[in-house]
Amino acid sequence: MTTIDNLVQIDHVTFGYDRSRTILTDVSLQFPRGNVVAIMGSSGSGKTTLLRLIGGVVRPQSGSILFDREPVDPSDTDKLFALRRRLGMLFQFGALFTDLSAFENVAFPLREHTDLPESMIRDIVLLKLNAVGLRGAASLRIAELSGGMGRRIALARAIALDPELIMYDEPFAGLDPISLGVTANLIRRLNDATGATSIIVSHDVDECFQICDYAYLISSGRIAGHGTAAELRASEDPEVRQFIRGEPDGPVPFHYPAQPIGQELGLPS
């Protein structure tokens, strides 16, 4: 049996920000090298927390996280920073540095982590901007960019150092149909062209299924289902079906827990 080469491996991880609130319970995920894997689930299910665990921002209460077969250890700062130089992250709203121009934003990781001369940095930045179709916007200030453009500049910044792992936090949220198509296309093309591994956290089922090789569905801190797009679409599991088909009621209830409405309105029973 051939062992799959996983760039990232999450094994039986349990995590909560404090003792009263457990976000993830005994979850295990694999991210094979060169694949695009989607992590889907409703808001608050713990998807973004998984990205923070992989990046070493937080530490799990139990279980392990391996990056390229090495454990991710937030307490070893040098090793953690060395790991972070191999990954790029696209934040939900871009998280661009508002005091710098688009060019300066993309140049930031190059200036901080390399000793390359300015001429070379300029070439690399223009190439990255070209890859996302925004070479002409290089001199614009962040405030002058639209939401979709800002997200693409942030993507150019995330790939500036040619990372092995690119993580996307809700890359499709709030985009118009054209930008949606452009972004999905970019994610897939970048992944294949650079040989990187991509993790997409999203609740946009259709866009994810179009570009991902594999997907996990997280619900209430557990893995509710996983598989390829076809497998998940055909799944009979009620939680998976409700999410994939967008049904308003099912295992995830429509109503926030409350007393019966008759009681609340004081109606005679």
């Binding site: 990046g55 921002v57 953690l80 920073f81 060395a82 972070r84 130089r85 990954l87 790029g88 992250m89 934040f91 939900q92 709203f93 998280a95 661009l96 540095f97 508002t98 930031f108 990781p109 901080e112 982590h113």
Partner: protein, 263 residues
């Protein structure tokens, strides 16, 4: 009112206060630890010195001139009673150098530069810019916080010096040009009575201490603020209040140590 509830609330408040103080102390230690990095990337600190220092010049100069002029006026009325009107220059200079220069500069600094630091750091945190920096393996404490801390410590003594200088000039205009005190007496009494180490030196020490305190408070409150409009608004007011009170308390402590009457 259940007395147990009151006690519990008081206890919780006390615990919260202690936790905050501890948290703030750790933050201060981190700031100091990363200051050498800010010295190595002095270009970043320079940008901040311009933002904190240069852009505060208008308010410092106008306030300095006004305070100096008012001091001269009030001092003249008081001193003239005892026939000591010619000592106005000395009184204005000593008041400015020892007290009003450092303290008023620190209060104005808290209002102008402190609030802008708090809002900027708070909004950067809210916009995930600091988290983005961290995930790019750049320590925001070295890149963002320490340069601002260093800039505050450097700017404050310079601003205070300008305040005092402009204040003396304002006092000169009022005392000599408007009231008519002898110019020679004005300057010579000042020259005789002001000691470089005791008066100017102590004033400089005060400004450095105030600079450390105000900048640290502004950065800490900004860093810990809530990522909402109300959170940032609350944070900026808290910065002004806590900075100002800290400066005044520190001033009292430092003055008692520096200018005690015991030999």
């Amino acid at each position: 009112m259940n007395p147990l509830n009151v006690l519990a609330a008081l206890g919780a408040r006390a615990l919260w206060l202690l936790t905050s103080l501890g948290h703030a102390s750790l933050f201060f230690v981190e700031l100091v630890r990363h200051t050498p990095a800010a010295l190595r990337r002095f270009d970043l600190s320079l940008v901040q010195i311009h933002a904190i220092g240069n852009l505060s010049l208008v308010i410092i100069v106008t306030s300095g001139a006004s305070v100096g002029g008012v001091l001269a006026l009030q001092a003249y009325y008081a001193l003239d009673r005892y026939g000591a009107a010619e000592s106005v220059g000395l009184l204005v200079a000593l008041s400015l150098l020892r007290e009003l220069g450092p303290v008023l500069t620190a209060l104005l600094f808290a209002g102008r530069a402190g609030t802008s630091l708090t809002a900027e750091i708070g909004l950067m945190k809210a916009g995930e810019q600091l988290a983005a920096m961290e995930i790019m393996a750049v320590d925001p404490r070295s890149r963002v916080l320490a340069p601002r801390f260093l800039a505050g410590i450097i700017s404050m003594p310079l601003l205070s010096a300008i305040f005092s200088a402009v204040g003396v000039a304002g006092g000169y205009v009022v005392a000599v040009k408007l009231i008519g005190i002898d110019s020679a007496a004005f300057w010579s009494q000042m020259q005789d009575g002001v000691d470089v180490f005791k008066d100017v030196g102590n004033g400089v020490v005060k400004t450095i201490v105030f600079g450390v305190a105000s900048t640290f408070v502004a950065l800490y409150i900004g860093y810990e603020s809530d990522a909402t409009p109300e959170g940032v608004a609350q944070a900026t007011t808290r910065t002004v209040v806590i900075s100002s009170v800290s400066v005044l308390i520190l001033d009292f402590l430092l003055t008692s140590l520096m200018f005690s009457t015991r030999p």
